[in-house]
């Protein structure tokens, strides 16, 4: 019998934090070469300037933002408890992601993620699946200022 996930609409997910570490950003830049955002230690070798915030702190590239959203959101829910989904036997994938950027992301900063299930609906493609839409806000955990906000949908096949 199908699980009715519409009962999940409005559920607040647990608050989470994530620190944008230098190691993560450097590893990321090792794969996604961003000439304007050189990995720490490579500045002289590359002969390029790492983009910095006015305060002098190092910025992460915008291309790292989807990683922060995905990572942060994965900490806010449990597949079984919050999505009524068994990840070991079921198939899930990302649907759509929208992000609004309020300020640049700084390397070394901790961010706080709050999220809630904003909608759940069923769709029929080659297979039937549920779409779970999660609305989220990511803020600087110290200043509390908004960094990113948006929506992420998850597709859970039936």
């Amino acid at each position: 019998m199908d699980v009715d996930r519409t009962t999940l609409i409005g559920r607040a997910l647990r608050p989470a934090t994530y620190t944008v570490t230098e190691v993560d950003v450097n590893d990321f830049l090792g794969v996604v070469d961003e000439p304007a955002f050189v990995a720490t230690g490579d500045e002289q070798a590359a002969g390029a300037a790492t983009v910095s915030a006015p305060t002098g702190s190092r910025l992460a590239p915008p291309s790292f933002a989807p990683f922060v959203a995905v990572l942060g959101l994965l900490k806010t829910f449990d597949w079984g408890d919050d999505f009524l989904f068994d990840y070991r036997t079921g198939t899930a994938m990302f649907g759509e992601q929208s992000i609004e950027f309020h300020r640049p992301l700084r390397v070394g900063e901790s961010v706080a993620i709050s999220a809630a299930i904003s909608d759940v609906y069923e769709k029929q493609g080659k297979r039937r699946f549920d779409v779970i839409e999660v609305s989220f806000q990511i803020s600087g955990s110290e200043e509390g200022d908004r960094l990113m906000s948006g929506q992420q949908s998850y597709i859970l096949f039936k």
Binding site: D24, D27, G30, V31, A36, P62, S63, L71, Q97, F101
Partner: protein
């Protein structure tokens, strides 16, 4: 239709202009290891070819956020400042596999001028594989500066 130059000024842009198309790849399966570590995602679908093939896939699947990162880099490298990015909306349409060659492109959908001559551009953006299959599709918007006021031009005679 004309193609928009890199790091354009608002006055250089028109609705319908294409963004320069960029090809990248081939995709490298060894990149999936650091990406899995960053994402704390040890799903074998991204790392174990036998596991992926047992599920009917031709090979391991490149992580979706990595596909997104390439499309973000494509769009933001077109801007004067990558953090002029305002918003994105992207839909995952298909998987990327090792050795795929990706193509990123876009088109200007809307221009909104600000009082100082700068403005906001909203673009359709897409990523396709070598077979022309859409991987990601969506929109991205960003601030675009105004062309600086030109200083007085001094004409000089050529040296004798």
């Amino acid at each position: 239709m004309r193609e928009a130059l890199y790091q354009p000024f608002f006055q250089d842009l028109a609705v319908g202009m294409r963004l320069p198309t960029v090809e990248l790849g081939p995709m490298d399966r060894f990149d999936y290891i650091p990406i899995a570590l960053i994402l704390r995602d040890t799903n074998p679908l991204h790392l174990d070819r036998v596991y992926a093939q047992e599920r009917g896939l031709p090979d391991v699947v490149q992580q979706g956020p990595l596909n997104q990162a390439y499309l973000y880099r494509y769009f933001t490298s077109w801007l004067h400042d990558p953090w002029d990015l305002i918003a994105t909306k992207m839909r995952f349409a298909a998987n990327v596999f090792p050795d795929d060659v990706l193509q990123c492109g876009g088109e200007i959908l809307e221009l909104v001028e600000a009082p100082a001559g700068s403005g906001v551009v909203n673009c359709a953006v897409w990523q396709r594989n070598q077979a022309g299959e859409t991987i990601l599709t969506g929109e991205a918007s960003a601030r675009i500066p105004s062309r600086p006021m030109s200083t007085s031009v001094t004409h000089t005679s050529p040296a004798p």
